[in-house]
């Protein structure tokens, strides 16, 4: 894999992403390419559901390597992230040595690697092959843990008092994601290559729908992408529909044998896009199912007219 990284080009990275069904643009690819080449952690920010975590999965598949995930949460500490001693196993060993007169054990016997419980960070450092380390939702942790983390990300080595210093055999590909719930420290940001992923444009979202769900017709994909885009921009929602929710909505519409959007279908399936009582009320009050369908019809008609200018192919709205 190290050789693969050395000779990697942006064109190859693009092909790898396309093969995994991840629709990307030049900015995204160049940023990932730089993080890989400079061997720096990649910090990805953006709203929930725009495909931040997916990048780590795609990289792990593309390089055929292990994805090690550290899911951050409030109160996460080194024990959960780095390593723990297998206390119970150590006790059993001591107990067994007591029962067997001939077996005399020393401290080194119970503080050896076989009694070490590897947690994601140590696992990534000790991996035989360069792994992808995903540190998900880093903004959910405390500042103390963040400070500890960026020390590790600088040196890629860990000191275990009983064993000594463990140095990374291969510097892992580190992906950090954040929903921007909390301001991350400048120290962490400075050490990373930064990528911000926004909600996609209508065209990009159509592309995503068509790639992930090939059964969706061009017309349905266009209408869905337009509707979701309209919801994101015309309403002030507590939780805007993400790409993942767009895909769920598409799948459910296909399951209902829909070829195009109509008000009954939208009404029945709106719960897949809006998952908050206030958002649902705001939708009903400010836009409504008919309002959304009318907006989609109008927007797609404009787009189709533009299509007709370029070709005579059918793309009726």
């Amino acid at each position: 894999m190290d050789d693969q990284l050395k000779t990697l080009t942006t064109a190859e990275l693009k092909i790898a992403f396309e093969a995994q069904g991840y629709i990307s643009d030049k900015e995204l690819l160049t940023t990932i390419y730089l993080a890989l080449k400079l061997e720096k952690p990649l910090l990805i920010e953006g709203a929930p559901g725009v495909g931040k975590t997916e990048i780590a999965k795609v990289l792990s598949n593309a390089f055929n390597t292990e994805l090690i995930r550290l899911q951050c949460y409030e109160g996460l500490d080194e024990n959960k992230a780095l390593y723990e001693w297998n206390y119970q196993r150590q006790l059993i060993k001591i107990q067994m040595s007591r029962d067997t007169i001939s077996q005399d054990i020393s401290e080194h016997d119970v503080f050896s690697p076989e009694y070490l419980l590897e947690r994601p960070l140590l696992k990534a450092i000790r991996a035989e092959k360069r792994a992808v380390l995903l540190i998900d939702e880093i903004d959910k942790t405390d500042e103390e843990f963040e400070a500890f983390l960026f020390e590790i990300l600088s040196d890629f080595q860990i000191s275990i008092p009983e064993l000594g210093t463990v140095k990374a055999k291969h510097i892992p590909i580190v992906i950090l994601t954040s929903n921007h719930d909390r301001e991350l420290s400048e120290g962490l940001r400075r050490r990373c290559v930064y990528l911000y992923i926004d909600y996609p444009s209508i065209d990009k979202e159509i592309n995503i729908i068509r790639t992930k769900i090939p059964e969706a017709t061009e017309k349905l994909a266009l209408q869905i992408a337009t509707a979701v885009n309209h919801l994101r921009h015309s309403l002030t929602l507590n939780k805007q529909p993400s790409i993942a929710e767009t895909l769920d909505w598409t799948r459910s519409l296909i399951a209902m044998h829909a070829d195009y959007l109509d008000s009954t279908l939208v009404k029945q399936t709106m719960g897949l896009l809006l998952k908050n009582r206030d958002d649902m009320l705001a939708f009903q009050k400010d836009l409504g199912v008919d309002g959304l369908c009318a907006a989609v019809k109008q927007a797609t008609a404009t787009k189709n007219q533009a299509c007709l200018c370029h070709s005579t192919a059918s793309c009726e709205g």
Binding site: T10, K26, E27, T30, T31, Y33, L34, A35, K37, L38, K40, L43, E45, E74, G75, D77, E78, N79, Y87, Q88, L91, I92, Q95, D142, E143, E144, H180, D181, R182, E183, E186, R189, R190, C192, V193, Y194, L195, Y196, T236, L237, N238, D278, A282, D286
Partner: protein, 449 residues
Amino acid sequence: MNSLADNIVGFIQILRQLGVRISTAETIDAVDSLTIIDNFDQDEFRAALKSTLVKHAEDQTAFNQAFNLFFVPPEAKQEQQAAWDSKQQLDLEQTKQAEEELVFQGRPLEIPDDLKDVYKQLPEQEKQRLQDFLEKTSTGNNVKESFQPVVENLLKSSLSFWQRQLSPEDLAQLAAARRQLLGHDELDHVVDSAAGLGGTGGNPLLYKNMQDIAEHEIPQVTALIKRLASRLTTRISRRFRMTGRRKLIDIRKSIRRNMRYGGIMISLKYKTKKIHKPNIVVVCDVSASMTKYVRFTLPLLFGLSSVAKNIESFIFATDLEKVTDYFRYGADFAQVTEKLIANSSQMGQGTNLFVALSSLEEKHKQLLTPSTLLFIISDANTLAPLETASQLSIISKKVKRVLWLNTQPKERWPQNSALPLFAKYCAMFECYSLAHLTKILSLNLTRQS
């Protein structure tokens, strides 16, 4: 600006002038990244600089503006240079004219540069009025040279009045005009143009001064505030302090549990500290000077009350009034506002924060606990500032933290002599737009800075 390295360094200087924090390590990263990518592809070049230099989403617009202005063909650069030169010339002429006009008996008056900039922005009619005043004073009977400081003070007062009338946007423009330039024409014109284009981006409502919010924008503002306020509740549900790296072993439970193994501690039981949720008390100024912000403050009260359970809301002008019951969960904002305005006796009155804080301490002392976060939303224009500061000092010792959201732009803070007194006992934040509120709520407010 011939080599690539010169250009990169120049570009980084521009970004720093625009408020983007870039360290030397990041500069080195940017240069390293350019050795890896195809420099002739503009999109790759842009992405390389962006990903290594810009580490905050909100700085991306400033980056894009500066990039589009700086990395242009030589012909476009020449045009920009010519426009910059003529702008500089115009500014120089205006300054010279102002210096010629602001004279007393033929001698130039000593007026600070920021007030001179205010003078340059005045309407012609007002400029003429000031000139007439200076001329009449200069030629008055028995007016001697020693009279000059008095005239200067009068003029400064008048210009300060006009400065206070300026909107925050105008003030920001003036501050930008006074920005220390880099002394390099090619860089300075990019800084000036990019700053003029605004480096905000995103939802324009976020950056709008809340005194200019229109009626139809209120639902949007309320929804945005509710979304922001939910961040606060996430934040405050965190522990005040770490309980230690490891969880504490619960000895009693561990012994009881391990009796079955003959007392050998095979299965340890742990205990953790209870998570404290601080109580929130919001005290909001609804006096006459704050009425223009009522479209911001009331949705803010409403938003906080909708997402946080343990919150007590108060409004004040000449005295304190509890309004928690108006903001029950699920209530409609329009109805709440209507009811509140109809029933409240505080709306649009004078301001006495001292009385309000005293009432809070006397009548609601049970709310002021070490886990309380006290928010004060006010422009800090109050009667009895000394007494207010002393009352604030008493309260600040009883609560976890006092957070003051000041609706006055930071540029105006030096004009309020009471502010340093208040700032000793609270953390004061500039907060007249949703962007400010977003920034404040992304901080860890429960922690003393």
